[in-house]
């Protein structure tokens, strides 16, 4: 599997490549000997949407974006957004809805709201079937 080739085809920036490699390493580490391998298409989607969110919310006071893969289950990754008022533009919402499977919204005791975007099929079985 060549993640470099995958990224180079896309003309990704150095920052994107670095972030992608970090996410991939984390995924592989969590994968262990389960027989699953990272689903490159979904991991790439997770990276792109998390970067888009980080860029979008970087100027919004009190909002932070934290991307985590392989939690809470082996096949599910999630992106957390925590802030006072979290607003998605139509364009961003369309992107989110296209690749995210579930949105969970939780009020926090500190007055923030946490929006978690869950993505399934982050992993695929090595032989293509389960």
């Amino acid at each position: 599997m060549s993640d470099h080739l995958y990224l180079d085809e896309d003309g990704a920036s150095e920052y994107q490549k670095k972030a992608f490699r970090e996410l991939l390493e984390l995924t592989k580490k969590n994968m262990g000997n389960s027989g699953y391998v990272p689903n490159m298409k979904r991991i790439k989607q997770a990276l792109h949407i998390s970067m888009a969110l980080e860029k979008y919310f970087e100027d919004v006071d009190g909002c932070t974006v934290d991307t985590q893969l392989m939690s809470p289950s082996i096949d599910c990754g999630y992106i957390n957004i925590i802030g006072k008022g979290i607003a998605f533009s139509k364009e961003l919402m369309e992107d989110v809805n296209k690749c995210v499977d579930e949105i969970e919204i939780v009020p926090n005791s500190d007055g923030n709201v946490a929006v978690s975007l869950f993505m399934y099929n982050i992993m695929e079985f090595k032989n293509g079937n389960i």
Binding site: G85, A87, V113
Partner: protein, 109 residues
Amino acid sequence: MGIFENILKDINEPVSQKDEDYLRSMCDLAGRFANELDCEEVKYRGNIADGEVNLYIILLGCIDVIIQTSDKTYLQMCTLADKVSFINLPDEYDESNSNLVMVFSKEIA
């Protein structure tokens, strides 16, 4: 009185036919959407502010809200609105931190 009539009463100022049509569609969808969510009570409010017409769906007594992004009603609402926001009510209104507000906003036509 239905959701739409309540929202118009809330706004309490003339709205264009386009905005009225938008609100009518959104209210219809909001009722269906909120019915599926796991919370004790749902309230709806509306206003016009900063050049936007806003529909507030206030979810009372929910620990959290889970939305399937493939849900047709939700997708229709996102398509109609220009912006979707999630707000936690301030402590003075929500000591239990179990109430959430979803806001669907659209620029005034």
